[in-house]
Amino acid sequence: MRAAFLEALLVEAHKDTRIILVSPDTGGFHCETFRRELPGQYLNAGIAEQNAVGIAAGLALAGRRPFVFNTLSFNSFRCFEQVRLDVCAMRLSVVLVGVGAGLDYGLFGPSHHAMEDMSLMRSLPDMSVFSPADDTVAAALVQHTVQGGGPAYLRLDRAGTPLVYQRDARIELSQGLALLRTGRDLLIAATGRMVERAMEVADTLSASLVDTSVVDVFRLKPFPARRFLDLAESCPRIATLEEHSASGGLGTAILEVLADHGLTRSVRRFGLPDRFYHVCGDRDYMHKASGLDAAALAARLVDNRP
């Protein structure tokens, strides 16, 4: 996903010289092509995330379109106040691109586990929060955020496969969500890496005669409320699935929308537990340890277990 995004950014930056890739010394290897082809549009700001975001805001004040590219934890937690005040409070067109959603960096310990970022970013006025499911969406978000302007936060994985969408698929990004599968019994709303997992769960559930819809919510803010409610109205049960703390992210956003519109549905939230992980493991291992593997999720949904 990181590679597909940077490739798309390079194409766009060739056309739009306002674009500047600001990296707090991250992704040197991955940014190499960009740096070689457009050295004047690449800035290594050093391992100084607060300053990097402040500089990006200053560049945006001067008419540039900065993309701040960094490991996800350091692009959200370390510099949150700069994101809040320097970027959002001035509604500047700065795009924060974080790599390593959820437990993508499971082996690297609590510093790199990004479990609370969507909750933080979603709380910021004027921020747009995107969580793509695969390479196709991640790449398309480059042009979408440049055209849309304003502050944006992108939550990427390192790998962007398996693909949920065809590589050349035209996705209506302005819709904020996409219905991938239609069923009558259960609606699973998922985001990021968990979209593909939701499809797998839906396949498993069909064996138990649970007819399942899957919707990919790739924009958490502004939340596509109307379009989501249209889907929710036709389904008695909803499950939310995200590789993020179960509090503050997609599940919370959906509960807010349902409550605000007076729509009563049975909702189950599946996400990361409210604790730090003091063991390391690869992503699959960590998902299994968190009950987010497809078999466990399907079982929990069939039996209605917590």
């Binding site: 050093g46 402040g54 004040l61 700069q82 320097d86 409070a89």
Partner: protein
């Protein structure tokens, strides 16, 4: 820098700026007393700096076109001194003078910390350690564009405890952002104490030099010295970012406030109002109710 007869400002200009500085103190004292809020002592330590910058002819701006691309930028990073900037900008016509009377009142855009919805204010501020990073970004864009505008950032000395100040200082030094000028209001006090008593910045000038900056040390209440420093800042042959370390006195102009940490937050009441006004050459209270304890 060399002081030569051509760089020495004329007496007439200096006298008019002294009068302006006194007016800014008088006006902002009234604003703070009316609102019962504001940082008077922080404001008073940088009055001559702001007056010399805006009225001395160095800073390029147009109140009728506050967003003109070629303008010099001024960022008040020590945003608690917003009152002084409001008074200067209103006097220059960026917004109506009588709007100053709304300072820190419900519904006013002139809050305790400056923000960019007010004409002439470049950025949202109020959290320390942000202004120099923003200045770096603007100055870097200007350098890449070959533009001639400059970015002046007024930083508090206590603010230099923030690590982000040194992140940006290192960045500006490395990139030789000669269009970036940091003015440090070096009043030696922060909100609660003397800096040297709890976390010294010394050797301060050497720190800036070590980060690749050029430095000037000036009396921050001397208008001729400040005018000369700002004139030097405009020298196009400079190659490094410039730190103007302005030695100041917190609360300057009101004797019982000068150099006293407890006046960081306080607003005068009762007899203090009379004494403060007297120090600023105002005999009778502007608002009799301010006399009440």
């Amino acid at each position: 820098m060399n002081w030569t007869p051509d760089t020495m400002p004329g007496d007439e200009l200096v006298e008019s700026l002294k009068t302006k500085a006194l007016w800014v103190r008088q006006r902002t004292l009234g604003m703070a007393c009316r609102a019962g809020d504001g940082h008077i002592a922080s404001t008073f330590s940088c009055v001559e700096i702001l007056v010399s910058l805006y009225f001395g002819g160095s800073l390029r701006f147009d109140p009728a076109a506050p967003d003109a691309p070629g303008r010099d930028r001024f960022i008040l990073s020590k945003a608690q001194a917003a009152m002084a900037l409001y008074a200067v900008l209103a006097d220059l016509g960026f917004f109506p003078l009588d709007e100053l009377d709304t300072f820190c009142l419900n519904g006013s855009r002139l809050g305790g910390h400056a923000e960019s919805s007010t004409p002439g204010i470049e950025v949202v501020s109020g959290s320390l350690g942000h202004g120099l990073s923003l200045g770096c970004g603007i100055a870097l864009a200007g350098k890449l564009d070959g533009a001639s505008h400059q970015v002046f950032v007024l930083v508090g000395d206590g603010e230099c405890h923030e690590g982000s100040v040194w992140e940006s200082a290192m960045f500006a030094g490395h990139h030789k952002l000669s269009g970036l000028i940091a003015i440090i209001d070096n009043n030696e006090l922060s909100a609660s104490d003397r800096l040297d008593d709890y976390l010294t910045l010394e050797p301060f000038r050497q720190k800036w030099l070590a980060f690749g900056w050029e430095t000037l040390s000036v009396d921050g209440h001397s208008i001729p010295a400040l005018l000369a420093a700002f004139r030097y800042a405009k020298d196009a042959s400079r190659e490094r970012p410039l730190a103007i370390i302005a030695r100041t006195v917190k609360g300057k102009g009101i004797r019982f406030m000068e150099g006293r940490p407890d006046w960081h937050y306080r607003i005068p009441v009762g007899d203090e109002v009379t004494r403060a006004r007297r120090d600023l050459g105002l005999e009778e209270p502007e608002h009799p109710e301010e006399e009440a304890p």
